[in-house]
Symmetry: D2
Subunit: 244 residues, 4 copies
């Protein structure tokens, strides 16, 4: 077996990132209504090592994560990053978490259910802290409540709004979702026109714009990216904007 670890370590091809990926992990997320909600996250943790390091203790990532018993909030995120930087003697530290977030569905759609939104958090710590949130909000043409129609169905799924943002002041995940759904469910009244006309009037550009306008007015949000995707026959269309 050739000793590939003793290969000369040329400066220009130093390892940039090293870490653990795809850890499936039960978490508890802060939740405006119920204080804590249980979910299951997929976690990545990695660091940037100084040039003189050749390897790292991969087990330490998981040890640090275990110490927090899945309790995820702004404070624990910051502490995890600080411990990663210190214990792994790293220049910077990163943690990414993706998880389903649940909200009771009370949109008057005729069925009470639990809606699922995919959330992703990316925290990093170099000289300063940074936290980016990403939320995917599915877009459905809303139907009004229909008490006793046993054959009720939905109009299907129109598409998805994919929002990334950083914030100056803390924002609840449910408040951001509500902002987006005010645009997609309420500002756009799908129901009082023939289906075909609705289809003509709505476009990924117009909905992207409407969501962008809404986010630009919120002073807690510092930067954001909005992508809206529409499911169409044979391909999907999309538009992206950045703000402010």
């Amino acid at each position: 077996m050739k000793d590939i670890q003793s290969l000369p370590d040329h400066r220009r091809i130093n390892i940039k990132k090293v870490g653990v990926k795809d850890i499936s992990y039960p978490i508890k997320v802060l939740d405006k209504a119920r204080h804590h909600q249980s979910s299951v996250a997929t976690v990545n943790m990695y660091v940037n090592l100084p040039h003189h390091f050749k390897g790292t203790h991969m087990s330490r990532f998981v040890e640090i994560l275990n110490r927090f018993h899945g309790s995820i909030n702004l404070k624990s995120f910051h502490t995890i990053l600080e411990e990663m930087k210190e214990r792994l003697q790293a220049e910077d530290a990163h943690i990414e978490m993706e998880f389903p977030y649940f909200l009771k569905n009370d949109t008057g759609q005729g069925m009470v259910g639990i809606n699922e939104y995919t959330c992703r958090m990316h925290g990093s710590l170099a000289q300063t802290d940074e936290l980016t949130m990403n939320i995917k909000v599915p877009i459905y043409p809303p139907l009004t409540s229909q008490a006793d129609n046993s054959l009720t169905s939905s109009l299907g799924r129109w598409g998805i709004a994919d929002i990334s943002f950083s914030f100056k002041h803390f924002i609840w995940i449910e408040d951001l979702i509500k902002m987006i759904e005010e645009v997609t469910l309420h500002d756009l009244d799908w129901s009082d026109a023939p289906c075909e006309e609705v289809g003509r009037a709505l476009s990924v550009e117009s909905i992207t714009h409407a969501i962008g306008e809404k986010l630009a007015k919120n002073h807690d949000i510092s930067r954001f990216t909005v992508t809206v995707k529409n499911l169409a026959v044979g391909f999907n269309t999309f538009a992206t904007l950045e703000g402010p």
Copy 2:
């Protein structure tokens, strides 16, 4: 290392199936319009061995497949199964293939594209041949053509029709897709009513029934199963029927 292969081979827990799975394989499928269309299949091949066999030559499955250079039709399917049965001394032989099938989109939706349908074939050979086809046909509320509106979008995706069938006489994949789309695109005229009314009138039960009626009238089809799924907020609804 314990010799687990010499464990006593009790009759009641004999191996039932043995084979290869998830082979990604470039294929050529018979196509009504163009004779052959290229696609990429995921292939499973397996056999049922007589009780006195303890193992098989896994490489033979792939060797047999390679001999046909990806040319897939009723005849090659049958020959592959015969070779499997013979060369592996098997009681019965199975081959499953799943692949995207492409059709030019000329539904007058304002954009010319290529539509993709997921197809699956399951052929088996014991005493007699059997072949089951499965086709997934996405359901979209159709919009009529809109020559010069640059902001055009679709109404999204309503759901999917999932059809399994055996046949007495050969049926082209495109003919079966056309049968389904005649129901979902043409028999259901989505456009001349307010969106909300359309949503109330359509249900997985009614569309399942309409497709079932259509297939029951076709004398080339011997048995079929229809499942229609509607994408809704928080969950999907579905209905299944079998015929005839």
Copy 3:
């Protein structure tokens, strides 16, 4: 819009199943060590309707599910099925749940982590109750603990064992996982032979057999199916057995 709901309802193409699918739902599962563990399930619920029914109240499925607040155990499963049968006036009722199940990893692999196993439960109620469990247990060649080697890695993933079973007496999920891992981690000692020899000795047939022998000895299990899959270059191999 054609009135497809008034199509004649020929007996031979009656709806067989109707229900809701792909509900993402936070659950609490009974857990030997900690009493309850939080997870997120994907839930399907459906019924078989009598012939004179033309549609059903889809919202009732979700209402019934909501009443149990995600608390999943043998008793709640049975009660959900009874309520479905009664409130939907169904001939039989089905509920399927798939969720990740977590166990602390103390296999001495050099890193303490949390292992994830995909579980699926399928409960049905016609004249009598039935419950089938399915558990997927990944198979890794084990390495012994390595306290201070910073460059530690694993030997990768060998494959997966996929076990379905019904039981006469209740079995903890962790007890079943332990049974499987005793075979894949302990009965097979991978480490004291050259890698290549290990590769030659292990086969999907031999591991399927070893797991089958183990399950056949357990008198709480009434019926079982074992499929073992090995990840290989270009394709995977697998073997399946049924018992007892």
Copy 4:
């Protein structure tokens, strides 16, 4: 229905990208051995519009793509981008394609098969052309040929090498794959040591380094990123480097 298209168009939240996504499309790729190989790509096409544009003709993307009948090479990529820029009056144009690429497996693993590698190309045209390739090469511990052992299995999958690169002079996909596999199959001789020792010696850092060294010596490659991922129990480890 509110007229959301007439909302004031503040400069700071202009649409950045607009286009089509997830088009499933049959393609023909240039192939060193056989001239052309058929595959199926997932295609994204998008442009950056000047500020005074409010919408675009989504159908034009697909029209342009259709003109090339799926024939994909450096020249057609460039021509597609030029047409997109011109016909959509865009500031810059992008096309992304992901597709499985097939190579006959002649690594002496005892079974002749077809290996699949996931490839992605991202071409863009602003003032100048740019093309980035990405190839995912699975890593398996190699076993030497075993003519007549019917129970042969593999040692499983160790991990994956994920390579992105731009080039100064054209490189065949198969030549790049061969470079990577020379490191993972030949430079690392897995077989003549006990399994456990192999597991200790190999690490994502060492293999990342070995691949980086190899790519740095190739003068056709201008820039590259290497990520190597190892599948481990409960989580995966990874390392990333950039060069030159």
